[in-house]
Symmetry: C2
Subunit: 344 residues, 2 copies
């Protein structure tokens, strides 16, 4: 089935019988991560498999089923022991109905009733939630947002996703698809976004936007070490490479990262004026750039947001990295058990 | 003192002793409205006074004190009978600290501890809240947002303000200044806003933006009945006049209103993608244009927002009109009594 690896992260000393556990999946465009997660947010065991979304919906679901079974086996627990299954998926998720209505990572998925399919198969409670919302919940409960009441999470990688915590609770909106901060228009005459609109935050500050801008300026003949780094292959330019060049002082690369960061900051100005949050947590691949990404963004917030909310917000990088999705999906399960679902 | 009018709206048949009452003020740039409001949201008695903000902070506060005393007298109730005093003010309000940090309507107010001043004077609980947040609460509990869990309120007049209701509760953020939706940047290369940024929603879709665009196009020599309506005086052009011309079919006026409405719609696209709300309620002077304002905005939401949240949202005009501020400030008092303050 193409399993990539298995990792047993903790052989618990305490008896698992007394632990609260959830099984969770983070379904990405290239890989699916499954994890057995404890209530304090420890990943006890995880397994990774390729998504191979091209193979069609059923094949992906089959891979999810196998991965769940294998993860439970590996962890040595029965499905009856976990409180439920949480699935993090990018895109427009109808969490209340348990349906993946559309996902950029799963191009041929349209209105797939994922919760019903997996609940039938495993006879347990299943929840599907937007991956960035799951990560927001994880960072809020167990990561860089601990202790805050109001927090906005941004994940900056190929695209830009978002999640919102209000008064200590994950806010997912009427259908469960709130938090699409990457598709906030900030420059209505700006570049076309994948979503079809012009000037979304994602079209200006994502990894894709950074890479596109680098290619554009290299084609214009600007000098940079970037060309050496990719051995002249412009198609190999991505945000990671631009970040590397910027970190060794390449001025074009630094300029491009700063430009993206300032647009990210403009998106944050809107979030600060609208949400007056205590914290903005930034995750995703580009967050590994650290201050190179956050510094100029913070500066823009100081310059352009209203003074009172700008003083109150701290802008930090995420703590949970690639596991934020599975940890958050598991936390969603625990909260649904404790508070009922839908919450309201 | 320049009182404009007094209106006793209801001579209650039930004994006031058994009614829950709050005293509230809506402090605008030109006038202050005081009201005695019952728990179901009826304005029992109201008084209006000019603000005369030029006279300085103390003079305005004195006028507020007199207006409160007069309204209580007129309503025939003692201050000990009201549950508290709620004050709606435009601008950056630190609700938790009870301070007006800055207000566009009160240009010489900087960090005025309004709650302390009035609580000392009247020996009652006093709360100060952003006027658009107050109006949002009023529309949610007693107006066009009744029955919804998640609602966004927009007031479109000279400026654009906003208020947010999340899971049935007014959301005011960490300091109390959340909801500044008018200062969401949607066109970062757009016209300069009063706040100093470029391309805020307010700079593109407010009454001021509509009037400015009309003047610009008239100066360019475009034909319109607008010139007759203002007898050639361009300085008399405002959104109301443009609305009147548009309603009788003037094509330039209609074009300008539609342009503003489409920008308003773009702001709503952002709100729909971020909040996935059940309802967007539009109040303020321009909302009297009704479908002329809301129609094109709805169309933009259908075209550009994600399908799932776009299907869930209804976009309607407010029900409470000019009294939304005082009703909402009173509702804030009742909620603070019932749930404690700050809510947290």
């Amino acid at each position: 089935i193409g399993e990539i690896y298995t990792k047993i992260l903790r052989e618990s000393n305490v008896s698992r019988d007394k632990e609260r556990l959830a099984l969770s999946l983070d379904v990405g465009g290239t890989k699916i991560l499954a994890a057995l997660v404890s209530h304090p947010g420890h990943v006890l065991c995880e397994k990774l498999s390729p998504t191979m979304a091209d193979g069609g919906v059923e094949a992906v679901v089959d891979r999810m089923v196998t991965l769940v079974s294998d993860t439970l086996d590996e962890g040595g627990v029965d499905i009856s022991h976990v409180e439920g299954m949480g699935i993090a998926v990018a895109g427009a998720i109808d969490t209340n109905a348990g349906i993946v209505t559309a996902s950029p990572n799963l191009p041929n998925w349209r209105d797939v009733p994922l919760v019903n399919i997996l609940a039938d198969r495993f006879k347990t409670a299943v929840y599907v939630v937007n991956d960035a919302s799951a990560a927001a919940l994880a960072e809020h409960l167990r990561g860089a947002g601990r202790g805050t009441s109001n927090m906005v999470y941004l994940t900056v990688s190929t695209g830009i996703g978002g999640g919102i915590v209000i008064d200590g609770e994950l806010y997912i909106g009427t259908d469960g698809c709130a938090g699409e901060i990457g598709h906030m228009v900030i420059d209505s005459h700006g570049p076309r976004c994948n979503c079809g609109n012009d000037g979304c935050l994602e079209a200006l500050a994502s990894g894709t936007a950074v890479a596109r801008e680098a290619v554009r300026r290299l084609k214009r003949g600007e000098q940079s070490q970037l060309l050496e780094l990719v051995e002249g292959k412009l198609e190999d330019i991505d945000a990671r490479v631009v970040g590397i060049a910027a970190s060794v002082g390449d001025s074009l690369a630094l300029d491009i990262i700063t430009r993206g960061s300032r647009y990210l900051g403009l998106g944050m100005v809107n979030l600060v004026n609208i949400f007056n949050p205590e914290r903005i947590v930034v995750g995703g691949g580009l967050s590994h750039m650290g201050e190179m990404l956050l510094g100029p963004a913070r500066q823009v917030v100081r310059e352009k947001a209203f003074k009172l909310p700008a003083q109150s917000v701290s802008i930090v990088t995420s703590e949970l990295g690639d596991e934020a999705g599975v940890i958050g999906a598991a936390m969603f399960v625990f909260q649904a058990c404790d508070k009922g679902f839908p919450y309201s």
